[in-house]
Amino acid sequence: MILASFWVNQSGSIWLFVKLILAFIVPLAIFYGIKDASPGVRRAIIGATFFLTGLVYVLYLIWPKPIHRQPNEIPQNFSESVGFFVSDTVPVAADVANIVATFLLGLGVFSVIKIHSEKLARRHRDWPFSLVLIGSMLLMVIFGYWNYYLKNYTPAGPSLGNPANWTFPSFAEDFLFNGLYQQMEAAMFSLIAFFILSAAYRAFRIRSIEATVLLGTALLLVLRTMTVVSQLWADAPFVRDHPNMQLESIAKWLPNTFQSSSIRGVDFGVGIGLLAMALRLWLSLEKQGQGA
């Protein structure tokens, strides 16, 4: 026996499908109705969207949270009803934002396909590369879903964990994802090592005092990892008698004393800036889009 209420239905029941269809059509009809709203009404609708969605979290912060709540309990009074509602809503809210954002992915994909299919159609200088892009995208989608289908909706699904049972789609998906995509990601990530050197070299040449302070500190921390250097330093006359002067100790002392504190100073500022921005957005104080 499953509890059937207005919000909850048994899977596959007729009422569920009626409600689903209505839940799809009614909002669309409403949106169609308001599409020509006057600018003032538009602003009100958008402002209300910001306010109501943000309100859930703000209430979660300040509205009294029900004490020692157990499953299936009934709230005692109005305050508790709100409290129950808010604490039930917050875990779902992140998912709601996530799902809505996922629906928008189509727009992004549309942008990619549009730009590259136009290049193809116009025989732009780089059209073969656009073909590669669209081709590899299609292959990934086809084999990605094919393999997903095989894994989850066929009797052979659970056995596909073992490569011995693989058929063509599984091989293709593995080749595209593990063989190419993952390797490309690692390659791109590791490129940073080369860039870090060229950036350091350039900053070193600028010879501003600030850049020198930055790179001097960086150099000290890098040198620490080189055994030869730290050994040489440790054998220096003054350092030998003062263990606190060893490279290892200095290299630990610098980040502990200056890195975490200065970064924290920056982060407090950033955090307050973010809070202020969030507050302005939530209350629609910001003229969004025309802001700057």
Binding site: P64, H68, A211, L275, L285, K287
Partner: protein
């Protein structure tokens, strides 16, 4: 007493739980009060002071150079998903687009998130329309590349190299890929103005970009550029909040020092547990967890509270179960 307050006020107010909420609300109040003040002052014809922010003066220079060279301006609002950070980045980008639009300089705005892409389309089109050059807006100047971090980095690098961008603006949440962008753009000789709200990436931007907005200079940017009363007011409120945090830290450090005892360590005979004070069998040295500040910032739960609440329950549900 504690039980009474919590029962009326809810779980998060138990013990010193109110403190965090109080600080948050104080910061919000500072910001809102100053927005109000700023609005009033503007109505009287005055303005609140905002100090010079170096990187931002370079925007005109960068756009000017792109215009001279006839090469595009690249803008990237970070790779995080849509939120206040992205909106702030787009605010700065609308300002840049406005100047670029006047000179018909081509722009290129690359997004790593589809929702961000949607807002950016909207925002940039809006800028062109309010400037009265809506027909010059090219839908393809705002692009979605990929929502995977390094695929996005690869795509943007390719664009920088092939389109030979003249100016590049990296503003928002950047992570490891920050250096890929900055060094690639540098290799084609672009002027770069960057800012990452991820403090761990700022040093790389400093090493490789021409101008860097550090920390919350990023949030101050739109106030500085537009001098809108709401934004300058909010900025003053933020400053008040920063001063409050600094004072809190200094006072806290002093208070903790005195709690621990200077030069000779203090002893304590009572200890707080489950938000109740308990007497110790023998006095012991004060630890950091015994200090006032530690109690203030780490509210304790009160197990006795649960006996004060008796709610009715719904009849329990049974569901068909798989055998």
């Amino acid at each position: 007493m504690n039980i009474l307050i919590a029962a009326d006020w809810g779980n998060q107010y138990t013990d010193t739980g109110w403190f965090g909420i109080f600080v948050t609300l104080t910061v919000c109040t500072f910001i809102l009060v100053n927005i109000f003040r700023s609005n009033q002052r503007t109505a009287k014809g005055g303005q609140l002071y905002v100090r010079r922010i170096q990187g931002l003066n370079a925007i005109d220079e960068a756009v000017g150079r792109a215009t001279e060279m006839g090469r595009p301006i690249l803008m990237i609002p970070g790779i995080s998903s849509l939120g206040p950070v992205v909106v702030q980045a787009l605010n700065i980008f609308s300002y840049i687009t406005r100047i670029a639009g006047k000179f018909a300089t081509p722009i290129l705005l690359c997004c790593a998130d589809a929702a961000t892409y949607t807002v950016a389309q909207e925002t940039i089109r809006d800028v062109y329309q309010t400037e009265g050059i809506g027909d010059k807006f090219d839908q393809d100047s705002v692009r979605f590349i990929s929502d995977r971090q390094f695929a996005f980095a690869a795509g943007v690098s390719g664009l920088i190299l092939r389109d030979q961008v003249a100016a590049a603006f990296f503003m928002g949440d950047f992570y490891a890929e920050s250096l890929i962008f900055a060094e690639t753009a540098n290799s084609v000789g672009a002027i770069q103005i960057a800012s990452s709200t991820q403090t761990t990436q700022t040093p790389f931007f400093i090493a490789s970009c021409d101008y860097v907005l550090i920390g919350d200079e990023f949030y101050a940017a739109s106030a500085y550029l537009t001098r809108q009363p709401v934004l300058t007011g909010s900025l003053v409120g933020q400053d008040w909040s920063k001063i409050m945090v600094a004072l809190l830290v200094i006072c806290g450090a002093l208070w903790t020092s005195f709690d621990l005892g200077i030069f000779h360590r203090n002893k304590t005979s009572i200890v707080k547990k489950d938000s109740q004070w308990q007497i110790l069998p023998a006095p012991r040295r004060v630890k950091d967890s015994d200090t006032f500040m530690s109690h203030l910032f780490n509210p304790q739960s009160d197990p006795a509270l649960q006996n004060t609440i008796h709610r009715e329950t719904l009849p329990s549900l049974t569901t068909e179960s798989g055998q």
